[in-house]
Assembly symmetry: C2
Homo-oligomer: 646 residues x 2
């Protein structure tokens, strides 16, 4: 296919990731407009509630005033907030930039300009910008690289500036602040500077993308230097139980077998390394990241897509260490996993990365915010043993774990990370290729964008997904000549069917491809099977042996104690996997029984039949709800994996 | 039975616990002499190696010199060691005191006197004694009650003094130091003093026992005050993830349902509370502790007797949260559990407490030291996923977890705790009653002690226990008239048999009782069944579902990767529970198979048969070793609970 370029609009650059190479161009936020549905609802709540909620909390806690105090010379070692609180401000600024870009909302623009002014005033003349170090009796700059988070904060500043540069242009004051900060980092940590590295990766991804946004090779090179500098035991980790692996500083990125240590750190690093690999054409580095993704997804990832198995060090566990109850699937790690998978999809076109993105978006990202957008889950376990109490709405929660969403946290990385991710959801949902378009994530809306060959393709997507499995793609703006329209068929969707041009054909997991000239108004229908299904774990996952879970479409389901008969204990629920699960609206019913709550004096014994199953109830229906909506009816015990009746 | 008192020696007071009330008097260390066997070997290694090993490390690291520096006025905030390192010195001193008392070894006496001099010189005129606070630029006394461990250290000083008072008399300088320290605590924290309490319980048990040893009611009263003062949220726990429950300061002792929070803290507190309950006749408090023991043993205790399910906060988990791999069965928590169970046995006579002591001694305490007594396990998981590397013999280990024993730790509470426990093993093994004697823990040796009625009973125990189940009790010194000789029949010993006076009878779990006049030279034989047996977990323990373990007598067994065929992965071993386990010396053989090491790209799927079991090997014999001896052949992966072939 070869078509002369037409007078079409240039591709949008309004997107979080914009690689210079690769056959897949991410669509811009303005090229995918959501209509009412699952993600539109969450994006709207983010717009209407979460953005202001985050700003209010950070104002109340003094995290914003920290910038004013540096500007006024009144800060000191008593500064409120953790050393990384600046980064929360930057993540909110990134969210506001995407919000304004996507919607044109002048309120978001004003809020962002106001924040930019306060941040800019705190910047030192040489570009250094941090409210926790280097001013008024504080510890000196870079005096605690291992735990001080200075370059981490700067990385988030750069990501905010990327969003602003791509939505308001490179002359914006925020972009100028970020440019000065990036220049400072390059000078301070370049080949002639300090050979140190930050305990929390993030500067890599920030530098690489700002380099792409501004066409500044030095930033990309500094990102490359940081990626290569890690893995040589510089960060000893004497203050964390897992030591150097906590920081991924035990093994160089290109040699590591799997992700390990602190999950958010590992995944932010991988995202930055993917950017470096793509921009520098480093096939070895890219292959290493693909291997790490494969190993981690096969052996260290929860059913929800959640990553992290240890509260201690908020870290990955060993292979097969996937406890449902003590899972530590930090919302930020889910977001970081999407960041990594998205980069690997763009670099390779492999559908598996988009599959994991969908799983993670629906079951890690979507579970975090409350329906009103003003409270959040943080650790996202797959099993909450006790309901716990109601949250304190007036104080930041000191804990990551609880059976209820909290309005804010002492370590409050997740709310602002959600805000920027929901504001830019479209940036991870579809791609344009040389002669076509790929729909990766399904939501009602319109998708319209220039192809690589310069032609434009526009479609309207009608769907009730994920409640309903029918995705109807109506062609609204067909280009002349044949195009390639690809619809992702998720790996769970065995038996999917594609209807187009009067024909119906099976659509195997991967991509359903329509390659022909399209006709305006024609409808292409993908029917994904979203009946509930039982899922079993690999027999080597000790924590899940003898259990099943229920999934429906991309959604993981769970049982909640509020749905049990009075007096029954969620620990005692067992299900019968020989009776197929039955859908009931957005819920699923399973046949099972409830064990009595008594316990033997000693819980280990000789005969398999000596357990309390002897006294189990008659058949009981277990009612399951989508995991993403658990605890919306108040504190509750919950479990995704349900023991099988024996 | 009523006998006139005879001219017998008074009961020994050479014992760690000496309640004023209750029908069971613990035997003194000099009333139970070990002959070669399991515990004699460990006690001898403690004598020959561990005591000097501990002193050498503490000298090398400056933990001993901390006392000199306070005495010389040269200490400061740069003092080496954690704030609780004084307590390690005191635990070693306690060990030396018991050692000297038990053996009369002048070397132990000299070592203890030398340490006492150094410690005594650091005591302030008002009795305060701590090398981390209150001197030369250090933080002031009691300025961080939550985490400073000052009263915790003092508690260990008092326990050391108890050992010395009961083996060398109350005039010993160490006892005088402790008396001054206890007087200071009573003044500083009594009704008219600070109403604070220490973040780490231990002062309670120290004050109560020193009160008993010296007949000083004030100390007991202060212990009571500390017990009652806890549970009202004074310790907020803002620096620990679990908050107030970490310190057991969320609920008063007499109201709590189960042990929770930091395991060693919970158990030391319970031990002190038991002392208070017994001495003050507080039946309600005692009943509360019994309920907590029951709940915790039924739902929060590992097969080994180990307590602790979370690395984070080194804490108990929720009910049924008992992960084999992330078990945190700290050696010190095992010792503390023995301390609690022993006090509850003495108060109630209930055999279940002695059962748990046996399980814990063989499978938590005995696993910790290496055969040479110079390296130690700390966290004692029931599943080590990766073998890991060899320990660094020259530096303290910064980690509690590893597949090999380490010579010393940065936080090195366990080695000295083992030293004092092994030196006083006899103090937890038997009791004398009004008219008889009870053998609770079996080891070859001689037991001889006055009964409550003043008569003396002496027996000689011959046994190869736990390798062999035959325990032969030869009567060497029968008193005139009938006596009650009780032999504990462990709860696992179904089918035990007692042979005495020419008769053989079944001996059900509990106590086998011989109540009659004994004859010099006669033998009473208890035959305990020590063939290997399969054990299954309560179905509500998610982490163990679908697994079996092997036990033999009191010993828990485990599989080690060093015993697998080359290339096989311990994660892939599955066993066939329908084939009975076979004993082979001190090992046990199980029939099973090995799954191939491959993994599917995504470890969750639809069909039960789609797992890698499809490619499992032909029958393989799994060779199991006693858990207490794992990793004695170098670093190895290990697991106690083995998945069942499905």
């Amino acid at each position: 296919m070869n078509h002369p370029p037409e007078a079409a609009a240039p591709p949008s650059r309004m997107r979080p990731v914009d690689p210079a190479r690769g056959g897949h161009r991410p669509l811009g936020l303005d090229e995918y407009t959501l209509a009412p549905g699952f993600w539109e609802e969450r994006q709207r709540t983010n717009t209407d509630a979460t953005l202001a909620h985050c700003e209010e909390w950070m104002e109340r806690l003094g995290w914003l005033a920290n910038f004013d105090r540096v500007a006024e010379g009144t800060t000191g070692p008593d500064r409120p907030g953790w050393c990384f609180s600046d980064s929360e401000v930057y993540k909110l600024m990134e969210a506001l930039a995407w919000e304004h870009g996507r919607t044109g909302d002048p309120g978001a623009d004003t809020a962002l300009r106001r924040l930019t002014e306060r941040v800019a005033r705190a910047q030192d003349p040489d570009g250094y910008l941090n409210t926790c170090y280097g001013h008024g009796g504080q510890e000196p700059r870079y005096s605690d690289l291992e735990h001080g988070h200075e370059l981490y904060c700067t990385g988030h500043l750069l990501q905010a500036a990327v969003a602003r540069a791509r939505t308001a242009g490179p002359a914006d004051p925020l972009v100028q602040v970020a440019r000065r900060a990036a220049d400072h980092v390059c000078a301070a940590f370049g080949p002639d500077g300090s050979q140190g590295l930050c305990g929390h990766p993030e500067i890599e991804v920030g530098l690489a993308e700002l380099g792409r946004a501004l066409g500044e090779e030095r930033y990309l090179e500094q990102a490359r230097i940081f990626v290569e500098r890690r893995g040589h035991g510089t960060l000893r980790g004497e203050r964390v139980p897992s030591g150097s692996p906590y920081f991924q500083d035990d093994v160089p990125v290109r040699e590591a077998r799997a992700w390990r240590g602190h999950a958010v750190r590992a995944l932010y690093l991988a995202a930055g390394a993917a950017d470096v690999a793509v921009e520098t054409g480093d096939a070895g580095l890219l292959a290493a990241l693909e291997r790490q993704w494969e190993h981690t997804v096969a052996r260290r990832t929860h059913l929800t897509g959640g990553m992290g198995s240890r509260h201690q060090d908020e870290g990955f566990g060993e292979d097969w260490e996937l406890p449902a109850d003590r899972a530590y699937c930090e919302t930020c790690a889910g977001i970081a996993s999407v960041m990594v998978s998205w980069r690997l999809y763009l670099a390779t076109g492999d559908v598996r990365y988009a599959d994991l993105i969908e799983r993670t978006l629906f079951n890690v990202v979507a579970v975090s915010p409350s329906t009103d957008g003003r409270a959040f889950f943080y650790a996202n376990p797959l099993h909450q043993r006790t309901a716990g109490g109601a949250p304190d709405g007036e104080a930041p929660s000191p804990r990551a774990e609880s059976g209820v969403r909290a309005p804010w946290f002492d370590v409050s990385c997740c709310p602002t990370n959600l805000a920027r991710t929901l504001a830019s959801w479209q940036g991870y949902a579809a791609s344009a290729e040389e002669h076509g378009l790929t729909l990766l994530q399904y939501a009602a809306g319109t998708v319209r964008g220039p192809l690589g060959d310069g032609r434009t393709l526009g479609v309207e997507v009608a769907t009730g997904y994920p409640d309903d499995g029918l995705v109807t793609v109506r062609v609204t703006e067909p280009p002349p000549g044949p195009v390639v329209l690809r619809l992702r068929v998720p790996s769970w969707a065995r038996g999917a069917v594609l209807e187009e041009a009067g024909r119906t054909r099976e659509a195997a997991p991967g991509f359903a491809v329509v390659e022909r000239e399209l006709v305006r108004g024609e409808e292409i229908r993908l029917r994904l099977p979203v009946e509930p299904r039982l899922t079993r774990p690999d027999p080597r996952i000790d924590a899940l042996r003898g259990c099943v879970a229920v999934e429906r479409g991309p959604l993981v389901y769970c049982a909640e104690s509020v749905d049990l008969p009075a007096g029954a204990d969620l620990d005692g629920v067992v299900v019968d996997p020989t009776v197929p699960p039955v859908r009931d609206g957005d819920r699923v019913r399973l046949s099972g029984a409830v064990l009595p709550p008594d316990a033997a004096p000693w819980p280990y014994g000789a005969a398999p039949g000596q357990g309390p199953e002897q006294g189990k109830s008659g058949p009981v229906e277990a009612v399951l709800t989508p995991y993403h909506s658990w605890a919306e009816r108040g504190p509750t015990a919950m479990r995704v994996w349900l023991p099988v009746l024996s």
